[in-house]
């Protein structure tokens, strides 16, 4: 019998705010333990939480980007939870009236597209960070109270690869929306994975197990592969999957039951009395919607349509919003999308990769690249000269036209001048000419190389190639006559 896995994700995203969800403590990463805390996020009695409007706005923006409905009336609830990383003994979260409802994200895998539906997006606060020592644990509350957006999917995902495709598409969308840094190393994106299996042909979902707190996409993929296989083995062998919370051990490559969290599931939710409900006016939502960028998939389609780019190129250029913006600005300035795409996909991407910088962290601007492209297009300089200038323009601000003028890099001009250089090259290399006349076609390239050398790289290589071919053909004709 065949078994089908059903996987749902709960993705926790740290929002890009300056301060915590309910107090003015900074969210900066990497400070010494317990230096970014106050009575509110330490859960001191009597301390009152006040909502950070930026966290509400970023969550609504995420919902709009992902096609969610924005809840007409939204509220916060207390979730009872006893653990040392939770100073109040409850977490403020949203239970039955989240900020965003429904929505979905289309993933692409192996040429196929699939919609992964979202159940909801709600807002909550993060907990502290525990470090475990030999006989005790230490808690740092700097992270406690940081706004976390939780995106919950329907169990529409049916493989480990689909889960990773979803996470990548989600990360791309959130980066486009500018709602989170999505930095996995800093724990900006973590997820819980719900998994069940059922025999093919049955509609009812099997009993699910939940793997908690995965913080790498590779981990999600490996844990899912393992857990799906484990559940199928269990069910196929006549056993039953137990509903439980699991932990993934990346070193052993296995999931383990987290027994200490067994009775932690009785959360006893109730409305947070210290926070008033959120009721957003349509005008407010529309004002926020107006600030949304184009979605990655839409932008990719537009790049193909407007600039005539192949699907692959459009995909590479839209993978990151910064690169897509850079491309589009360059294309508009130089009026040549194809050339802008070629330059960015090869030379610029290579320089970015080598330097480990993002497109906004280098000196190169769309204005500079467009100027360089136009210098080549107008035949002021040749392509190799332009490519030679790029690393310098990537490192420090400069105007290509000025560099060309001050260094005399301009292309050696007309046919007469290059024709003279061709004659010079032919005269200086009689053996190469002989080789060509004897049928060795490649010898022509060597002669073009000589012409380029004589011009100090400034000749138009195409013109040099044409003139070499013409002169050689003339000699070939002459040889045949004599």
């Amino acid at each position: 019998m065949n078994y089908l896995p059903s996987v749902g994700l709960e993705v926790h995203v740290q929002l890009k705010t300056n301060t915590k969800m309910f107090c003015g403590c900074t969210t900066a990463y990497g400070a010494p333990p317990n230096t970014q805390v106050c009575p509110v996020c330490l859960g001191y009695p009597g301390a009152m939480p006040v909502m950070n409007v930026a966290a509400i706005r970023l969550t609504v923006l995420s919902g709009l980007m992902l096609g969610c409905r924005i809840g007409a009336h939204s509220k916060f609830d207390r979730k009872s939870y006893f653990y040392p990383d939770m100073p109040k003994n409850y977490q403020i979260t949203q239970y039955d009236q989240p900020l965003c409802l429904g929505g979905g994200l289309v993933i692409e895998l192996g040429g196929q597209t699939k919609l992964i539906r979202l159940t909801r997006i709600h807002l909550e606060e993060d907990v502290g960070k525990s470090t475990h020592y030999a006989g005790c644990s230490g808690v740092d509350f700097n992270r406690a109270g940081v706004p976390l957006m939780e995106i919950v999917t329907e169990p529409d995902i049916s493989s480990a690869d689909e889960a990773v495709a979803f996470l990548l598409a989600l990360k791309q969308t959130l980066l486009y929306a500018g709602v989170s840094e999505c930095n996995l190393e800093e724990g900006n994106l973590r997820c819980d994975v719900n998994i069940s299996v059922r025999p093919e042909g049955t509609g009812k979902l099997g009993t699910k197990a939940e793997i908690k707190n995965m913080n790498t996409f590779k981990g999600v993929q490996a844990a899912l592969k393992y857990e799906v296989a484990r559940q199928i083995r269990c069910v196929a062998g006549g056993g039953r999957v137990v509903q439980e919370t699991l932990r993934w051990d990346p070193d052993l490559g296995e999931t383990f039951s987290m027994r200490s969290k067994e009775d932690a599931h009785d959360y006893r939710y109730f409305p947070e009395p210290d926070l008033l409900p959120v009721v957003l006016a349509d005008a407010q939502i529309e004002a926020w919607r107006a600030t949304l960028p184009e979605r990655p998939a839409e932008r990719r389609a537009r790049f193909m349509h407007v600039y005539g780019l192949p699907a692959y190129d459009a995909g590479v250029l839209t993978a990151e919003r910064g690169v897509a913006d850079f491309f589009e600005a360059t294309a508009r300035l130089c009026g040549n999308g194809k050339a802008a795409s070629n330059w960015i996909m090869t030379d610029v991407m290579r320089l970015l990769g080598e330097s480990g910088r993002s497109v906004t962290q280098c000196a190169l601007t769309p204005e500079v690249l467009a100027e360089l492209i136009l210098l080549v297009e107008r035949r002021t300089i040749n392509l190799p000269t332009a490519k030679g200038l790029l690393p310098e323009l990537f490192e420090q601000a400069g105007r290509p036209a000025e560099l060309v003028a001050t260094r005399g890099l301009g292309q050696v001009g007309g046919e007469d001048e290059i024709g003279r250089l061709v004659e010079q090259a032919l005269a200086a290399n009689p053996r190469v000419v002989q080789d060509f006349l004897a049928g060795k076609q490649a010898a022509a390239q060597a002669l073009v190389g000589q012409v380029m050398k004589l011009s100090r790289g400034k000749a138009d290589p195409q013109m040099a190639g044409r003139l070499v071919a013409e002169r050689l053909a003339a000699r070939q004709g002459g040889a045949a006559v004599s």
Binding site: C38, S196, F256, V278
Partner: protein
């Protein structure tokens, strides 16, 4: 922390809460005390059980009213959207933070080891 959602696609979430009409004084003090990490002896459990049953019995009277079409209220006043601007404010100094800690370890709060 995930909401303990039941996987019921398109059916929304199971609403949790006290169903007053069906609460036959079903308060298990010992169980709740365990959840709340409270240590209660048997005598205290029995005492609180009786007292809380009285409270629930009192509140149950609301079930005698016709509440059709009335939405549950989480707040008594129609006030919404009390927000704060996203501006950093100084917190507590490190010394003050740890001053009340029953136990500390370096810059961290020291707690019993709870780990899988």
């Amino acid at each position: 922390m995930g909401v303990s959602c039941e996987w019921l696609p398109n059916h929304g979430y199971r609403r949790e809460g006290v169903d007053l009409a069906n609460t036959t004084a079903d308060i298990r003090v010992a169980y709740v005390a365990n959840l709340a990490r409270l240590e209660l002896d048997e005598a205290s459990c029995a005492l609180f059980q009786r007292q809380l049953e009285t409270v629930v019995e009192y509140v149950r009277q609301i079930g005698e009213l016709n509440l059709d079409g009335i939405e549950p209220t989480s707040h008594g006043q129609p006030v919404y959207n009390v927000f704060r601007a996203d501006e950093v404010r100084p917190g507590l100094s490190h010394d003050r933070v740890l001053a009340n800690a029953p136990a500390k370890m370096g810059e961290e709060f020291k707690v019993p080891r709870i780990v899988e």
